[in-house]
Symmetry: D2
Subunit: 222 residues, 4 copies
């Protein structure tokens, strides 16, 4: 199992444009210095732009279920691949999808060979999504997202419960967790609970010192 | 009044990745050679990537109404601006929006100073959207989109009717039309009917000879 | 101009089932006693059930834009009419719609001859919706909905501004307002500001004494 | 295992208002005469109205995930229960839902004790939804819905495959199938393939002789 830290830039001002690119560079340096896998998820319009310059994997924040064709304003897995993306978030709590579209998106990402991180809000939905065979499932209790208490502290049983439920369906799926993750200690705890890494957003992007925040996060990986 | 030709790449394979970029170059050349304003709308993930290289304006295919913040997978007007985009389609028939979100998107685009093309399906919706004061309103009867008969021939009265309805609300809004537009003759007719230009997609992107298609289109501008 | 008071039961427990029906009876009595027009909007599944028994008009809380056909789970204007409904809310802040669907819904309601109350969140959206010619437009600033300060006090200029904007497009549309409305005094103020009535929800449905709340509301009508 | 035939009235004109009620009576008679369980799904606004009069179970065509509260225009499980409904379709192909909402809807229906029929479009989605533990899962390949070839003939392996996948997760879930079902022969085949019944819509509602169609359908139950 390889641990991964996925940094979601959301639509934060600090994660957009030139500032967002500087932030991506910080993530890249933390990865290169520590040897820990770090993935960046910039705003959609920057995906290709950033991917052209970075050595760490760039993931999309969202893809639609569509293949190619008359889908104006949709994000297709193929366009992510062609733009230089190596994976994508799917069904993030700020961009929930219909289940038939999740199945289609995961299948199309598999076809074009990019990784999938299906985000879920509960153990039940995690188990359900395991049947769709994504690369990762990331459990994030919505009420903790953007907050100050990490999921690893507030609801450790949700992480271990999701790991158990997901693995009962498909042992090949890696489990991530997120919501309130900010420190290396949180990362270590997440791994102890059976996950393969974390999703982090405001903890890095809105930090006064993103470089320090990143270095702390990667330090939590054993 | 300056005539504009907006080329929507949708999620067509021919408009994605390297092929999409070559297509954008063809559009750029047609614009430079003819002096006609041409705008390209590539898939969202390519927006910044293409805008870094092109001299013609690049528009997004869609923006959400959000400003900045916790909006994973949303396309903010600010990210389009920062990515190098000069405008955006809004409410395309393949990506319809709620009216409150259209108002928010148009207002936020105005704030960050990028152009807005609100797409509509009828004279009634065109008139309604005129009250939101976008830069352009583009009327496209849904049943003609992607078809072989241009709107200028099938429903010329819809274009002239939309022009009249929109101008009765706000004379400053330019009117575009689309659906089935393929030739310079269609462009000329669109202008005669009172519009300031056209939206074109399959007519160029799915053409066997996109260069010829583009040269024909720009030739229709008086 | 006839003043109307529309009572939206939302999905409140107090507005559902037998309790909801008793509440509808209270609204009916207040109307009969005072001579003021009162409309009730029960949960969708109760529409026909309540309409069979009541003498006051029953409106749906929502309709979709569909006519008849393969639309499982959609609410068609024809079904509302056939169920005994005399009108419907459209685009309520808790059930926002796409603009093309609003146009379709209003047109279909006109065809089957039921009234339409298009709800809006701003003066701009109110003006836009006026071009679609509904029976009523109801402006409700979202941030005041369900709160303790009535819109008539917090933002009187939004009501008078909406009245002016709507009437500039179509003098035949009556304007309503809502958000935080609880007393007869609020109703009187709403009428002074140029509206033809109010939308009220928690002020009646969540009241400890709905009968008293209703009698107070109707007392505000001159 | 008890076989059930669920008749979905959709928004067909023949299934609305007085005509819809006569159709429900026909379904009721077929059930009483044959002893086969028949369920009717009328348009939402008729649910309580019809349930007050009928002896067969009435199901809603759709419920939202909301419990009670400020949910204008949403259909809550509690309102279905209070209106006299005994169950509901969820995630029908004409009313797809987000996975987190399906989980919430199923859980809330369980709490208020009404049955749930989660509709799915593929074996993968069926398996996924099995983890949410609804009463029934109904598989309906979208391309066959409303058509002339029954799913039992066109894609028998999808039904048996769904049965196997669903039972591998939760043996307690009964499996239904639908799309193109019209005759007693189709019903018999559906049961042979391991399902516990069918969803039928146009085959009855749009039939020239709904009574005959119903009698034929129930005759297929062993």
């Amino acid at each position: 199992m390889t641990v991964v830290i996925i940094v979601n830039f959301k639509s934060y001002e600090e994660g957009t444009g030139r500032r967002g690119f500087e932030l991506a560079r910080i993530c890249e340096r933390a990865s290169l210095d520590s040897g820990v896998d770090v993935v960046v998820c910039p705003p959609l319009v920057h995906l290709g732009q950033y991917a052209d310059e970075l050595s760490v994997p760039v993931y999309a924040q969202h893809v639609d279920g569509a293949r190619v064709g008359s889908y104006t304003g949709h994000v297709t897995p193929m366009s992510v691949k062609e733009g230089g993306g190596q994976g994508t978030l799917i069904n993030h709590s700020e961009r929930r999808m219909r289940i038939a579209d999740i199945e289609r998106a995961v299948a199309e990402c598999r076809r074009v060979e990019i990784s999938t991180v299906v985000c879920t809000n509960s153990i039940g939905v995690s188990k359900a999504c395991a049947s769709l065979a994504p690369t990762y499932i990331a459990i994030e209790p919505p009420e903790l997202i953007g907050g100050d208490v990490p999921v690893t502290k507030a609801k450790p049983e949700v992480i271990s419960g999701a790991v158990e439920a997901i693995k009962s369906i498909d042992k090949g799926i890696e489990v991530l967790c997120g919501a309130g993750i900010k420190t290396g200690k949180d990362v270590r705890k997440a791994i102890e609970l059976g996950s393969s890494g974390v999703l982090v957003a405001s903890g890095v992007v809105k930090s006064k010192d993103p470089e320090k925040a990143m270095m702390d996060l990667v330090s939590g990986v054993p």
